[in-house]
């Protein structure tokens, strides 16, 4: 909507802000941008960065139900594996399982609001990070306390991601 003084009337209230094709690309692009946070020029000695790609994927899936197809977990997970250092296939499998699992949960829930979303996202984050640690690292590795911190940070980051995704979603308009 234009904010100029002459006309504050929106003459095309139902026009989509973005063409549908581009609006469909936006969720994919934001999830991939989240995965690409790992290219920040820091050589970390502890795995403390939350999995931003996963968090943004969960947020899109829970906040805007139709923004991502049910199969979007596999290609996005593959991209995340390529840039994250996990063995290839780990996120591809886990993110697909999470997308299917959220669908199964939705079938049983009559109604849900943000708190239930947060709970579902927390369960998904715990599942993905724990199983990801089990498949990527030998059992004797001493990363479990760091993993707990990473899980806590990721869960606490969900509301922020929700605000961000809601803002982007409002800008991009509805597209199916």
């Amino acid at each position: 909507m234009r904010q100029s003084d002459e006309s504050q009337i929106d003459f095309r209230p139902f026009a989509p802000p973005l063409p549908p094709g581009r609006a469909r690309v936006v969720p994919w692009a934001t999830v991939m941008a989240g995965s690409l946070v790992t290219i920040v020029p820091v050589v970390a000695s502890l795995p403390l960065l939350p999995p931003m790609g996963l968090i943004i994927l969960l947020t899109w899936r829970l906040l805007a139900r139709f923004s991502l197809r049910p199969w979007a977990g596999a290609p996005l997970g593959l991209f995340d594996d390529v840039v994250s250092g996990q063995p290839i296939g780990a996120s591809m499998l886990l993110w697909s399982v999470v997308m299917i699992g959220i669908d199964l949960v939705e079938q049983r829930l009559i109604f849900r609001d943000f708190w239930q979303d947060w709970l579902i996202a927390a369960a998904a984050i715990i599942f993905c990070l724990t199983v990801g640690r089990l498949v990527a690292l030998p059992l004797g590795a001493h990363v479990d306390s760091v993993l707990l911190a990473q899980i806590a940070m990721s869960i606490l980051l969900f509301p922020l991601a929700a605000r961000l995704v809601a803002w982007i979603d409002r800008k991009r308009g509805s597209a199916t």
Binding site: L36, V37, T38, I39, V40, P41, V42, V43, A44, S45, P47, L49, P50, P51, M52, R65, F66, R69, P70, W71, G73, A74, P75, G77, L78, V82, V83, S84, G85, Q86, P87, I88, G89, A90, S91, M92, L93, S96, V97, M99, I100, D103, E106, Q107, L109, F111, R112, D113, G132, V135, A136, L137, P138, G140, A141, V143, S145, V146, L147, Q150
Partner: protein, 291 residues
């Protein structure tokens, strides 16, 4: 928010479309599981995919790195301007103190050279292949890999040891055209043969995953590791050149102790890629089938 998607309605096309979406989703999970098994059993399979992605991300990372370093240098420059007088006095005092040690070291170097000539020992030259920077790492995964902004075009090869100014960093595992992946010392799957400075006691340094190393004695039992025992590479196995500093014991222990690596990768400036100390022998010729 209504939870269920009932938009398919009576449209057959939409119903089949939704069903197909779930079929593809399950297929994606199955493909992911297969890829995971392959990459667990044979991690090098997907190296080309990873390294072509790294060829795109490594220049971006090194650009960001340069910008961050430029801004990071500003406070240092201001601080050093004000500290320069005190630093000057401290350095002069230290120079005076270290002159004696320098004389001793010169004598030792001369003696060492002479004795080595007597023994006719030939040193292998550990030539540096390239000096590059570690530009990014895997901060969200438990594995400890870093990305080096040099690749096959700079003659970096797989298996080459990487050291920093303070000590050993790790070794190259995968190489792309302009980027290479380095397995850091602290990765849970990294193992380095080391020996203790002083008595030369052999040990194994393996990564813990939390930024520290486990040092285990290699040949004797009931070995005591005191705090501040220092370890250098032993050259066993032929990959790492001998004498590169690796780690210092943090907590004393018997047969096993926790050590802190000398080269903290998060404060790393440059990384030197070196040739493997003893290159791998060529593969044996294939046995001919008996007639």
């Amino acid at each position: 928010m209504a939870a269920r998607d009932r938009r398919t309605g009576f449209s057959r096309r939409r119903q089949y479309g939704a069903f197909l979406g779930y079929v593809v989703a399950v297929a994606g999970a199955v493909v992911g599981a297969v890829l995971l098994v392959i990459s667990t059993l044979h991690p090098a399979t997907f190296a080309p995919v990873r390294m072509s992605a790294a060829s795109v991300t490594a220049p971006v990372s090194s650009g960001l790195d340069a910008v961050a370093r430029w801004f990071g240098a500003i406070p240092t420059a201001i601080g050093s301007y004000f500290q320069v007088h005190g630093e000057n006095a401290a350095l002069r005092a230290e120079l005076k103190r270290s002159r004696v040690a320098l004389m001793q070291a010169r004598t030792i170097v001369y003696d060492n050279h002479r004795l080595r000539q007597l023994l006719a020992v030939r040193d292998r030259d550990d030539t540096t292949v390239v000096v590059a920077r570690l530009v990014s790492s895997t901060p969200s995964s438990g594995r400890r890999f870093a990305l080096l902004n040099a690749g096959t075009l700079q003659r970096v090869g797989s298996g080459m040891p990487v050291r920093g100014p303070n000590g050993l960093v790790g070794r190259v595992t995968e190489v792309g055209p302009i980027a290479a992946r380095v397995l850091l010392l602290t990765d849970p799957e990294s193992v380095v043969p080391v020996r203790r400075i002083g008595d030369g006691m052999p040990a194994i340094a393996s990564g813990r995953g939390d930024g520290r190393l486990d040092i285990r004695s290699a040949e004797r039992t009931n070995v005591r590791f005191g705090p501040h025992d220092m370890f250098v590479t032993s050259g066993t196995g032929g990959l790492y050149p001998p004498g590169v500093p690796v780690a210092r014991i943090d907590h004393a222990g018997i047969d096993q102790a926790i050590a802190i690596p000398f080269a903290a990768p998060d404060s790393l400036d440059f990384a030197l890629v070196q040739r493997p100390y003893m290159p791998l022998p060529p593969p044996p010729p294939a046995l001919r089938a008996a007639p």
